[in-house]
Amino acid sequence: MKNKLHHRFIIASLVALVFGSFVSCTPAKEERISLASFTENYVEVAIHLKKTSTGGHILSATFTPPEGYHMYSKDIPITGTDGLGRPTLLELTSDSLMKSGGTLSESVNAEVPDFGPEELLVYPVGAVTLSLPVNLPPGNDWVEDELSITFMACSASLCKPPVVGKIVPVRVPGAEAFAQK
């Protein structure tokens, strides 16, 4: 009887240990709200705002080109490399109420293209997400705001037209409003 109880205790402890490990290893949940999404010139763009586990805010845009197409690096000039290509950009405008809190980062590293100018860096075929730390406008209310988007998609031998400096209107929560969410 005592052995049986002891056996059950060990099993229960193991289950608790496994469950506890699973819960503690799961990253803290990030709150994310969708700000805008649209398709233009064959590229799907989804813009989100998320609160990180450390309390900061990240503005992100995911660019999904058609199958077999790629986007260009955020670091090529706005007018392209020797006029070729256009960068992928997520920017705040001078009228934006959100303020930049860091530098723009990319979900995948850009690569030197197989053909064409070496400086014309491209992302691997498929979607790329750009993220920008931001400081939300103060207050408890949601406010009208705007941001700017630039992109262009090409395959190895075919291009879609670029979108440069498209102003996207968004509605964002004030810092206190998002903190209470």
């Binding site: 392209g80 006029g83 053909f115 064409g116 395959s155 291009c159």
Partner: protein, 173 residues
């Protein structure tokens, strides 16, 4: 009598002068940029919206192509389009493969930044990506034969030339 001889001499001098020193031909200004890399090879013309209505321009260019015995083809391109510029670069570098593939053609280039993309000015020229080529008939209308960059993969002359050669001239015999 002397007067007649003098007049005859003046007339003959004028004829000789015109024959020996022909006046430079003053054609009407071309409405487009014209590039003929090799007289026996092919022609490249660029049309701008300011030149006039597209269909009328294409009819005119098709006539010029016919006069040269060349195949009229419309190409949509743009300065920001790497594959389009790769073709142009190969032509300017006189890449033999490309020159051979383009032989006998009359390319009418339209920049999508000028003409739009799906714009009403383009009539029934519909496409999803550039570069794209449309064969024209003798009246400057589409024949229905179209090809775009998707047909050749990486944009290097070794890939582009055989595909374009087949498009322009039919399969190799």
């Amino acid at each position: 009598m002397n007067k007649k001889i003098t007049l005859l001499l003046i007339g003959m001098s004028l004829l000789a002068c015109n024959f020996l020193f022909p006046q430079t031909q003053r054609s009407t200004p071309k409405p487009s940029d014209f590039q003929d890399p090799e007289p026996a090879g092919f022609s490249i013309v660029r049309l701008h919206p300011s030149d006039g209505e597209l269909q009328a321009l294409l009819a005119s260019e098709a006539q010029k192509a016919a006069a040269l015995g060349r195949l009229p083809v419309v190409e949509f391109d743009a300065t920001w389009c790497p594959p389009c510029q790769a073709i142009d670069k190969a032509i300017k570098a006189e890449n033999e493969l490309i020159l051979n593939a383009y032989a006998g053609t009359y390319i009418v280039r339209l920049d999508v930044d000028e003409w739009g993309w799906g714009d009403s000015r383009l009539h029934d020229f519909q496409f999803n990506g550039i570069p794209v080529f449309f064969k024209l008939d003798a009246e400057g209308k589409q024949t229905g034969e179209i090809i775009d960059g998707g047909a050749w993969g990486e944009d290097i002359p070794e890939n582009i030339a055989p595909v374009m050669d087949t498009f322009f001239h039919g399969p190799p015999k």
